[in-house]
């Protein structure tokens, strides 16, 4: 499978480290799950490496629903990465 587009969103300190709140990128076709996307993103540059560094808890949602590393990705999905929530 060739590359496919994803809409990525970053919140809180992930947004600050990556330096953007949103981007649409083409990811390699072999990336099938959220966990694989996270590993691939962490190689994209120092900001991404810092945001996804080991030991930092990062949560995610796919199409506005909380997701796990095993969640499958599809072309055009909206994928959000963020720290554990702290509202209320």
């Amino acid at each position: 499978m060739s590359g496919y587009p994803l809409h990525l969103l970053y919140f809180a300190w992930l947004r600050e480290r990556i330096g953007a709140g949103a981007e649409t990128i083409a990811v390699p076709g072999e990336i099938a799950t959220l966990g694989e996307l996270r590993d691939w993103l962490s190689q994209r540059g120092p900001g991404y490496a810092s945001a996804f560094a080991a030991g930092k808890t990062v949560r995610a949602a796919v199409n506005q629903v909380f997701a796990t590393p095993e969640t499958a990705l599809h072309p055009g999905d909206e994928v959000a990465f963020f720290p554990p929530v702290t509202g209320g």
Partner: protein, 152 residues
């Protein structure tokens, strides 16, 4: 069906309470939780708290939490209003109202709603201190424990 709002503007507790009670006589108790910005954090004076959220997801996530409360208790009304943006110490952040025929359900549902909001709604707080520093609030193990007591 719960009334859910995410807004920067302040809210009016009296107006929200009156809206829940309007035109009905079956409500016997109304639980209310009001979250407020504290002025000090571990001895450090706070200048402001800024709340970021995930607009496309926030209201749906809160509505799902409210739907779970309505599944667990016979609620006669439910309102959740969460503020975003920059808030000063002493300002209200979040309002939870849960109405039922008796106080047990109203109070339990109110506690459930705020506990799950803290661990399942996509909000993030950043603290700005009087001394000039800033820090994102870290998720608290105590909040996870408070939310977990409603599981099972």
């Amino acid at each position: 069906m719960a009334r859910v709002k995410v807004q920067e503007a302040p809210f009016d507790i009296a107006a929200e309470t009156a809206a829940l009670l309007a035109g009905r006589q079956d409500i016997g108790g109304l639980g209310c939780f009001l979250g407020v910005v504290r002025g000090t954090v571990e001895g450090r004076a706070l200048r402001a708290m800024t709340l970021e959220h995930y607009p496309a997801m926030t209201e749906a996530a809160i509505a799902a939490i409210a739907a779970e409360a309505e599944r667990r208790w016979d609620l006669l009304g439910c309102t959740v209003i969460h503020r975003t943006g920059r808030l000063a110490p002493g300002e209200p952040i979040v309002l939870v109202l849960a109405a039922a025929s008796h106080r047990e359900a109203a109070l339990a549902a109110t506690g459930f709603l705020i506990d799950w909001l803290k661990t399942r709604a996509p909000f993030w707080k950043k603290e700005s201190y009087v001394d000039g520093g800033e820090a994102w609030v870290e998720a608290q193990a105590a909040d996870d424990a408070a939310a977990a007591r409603w599981e099972g």
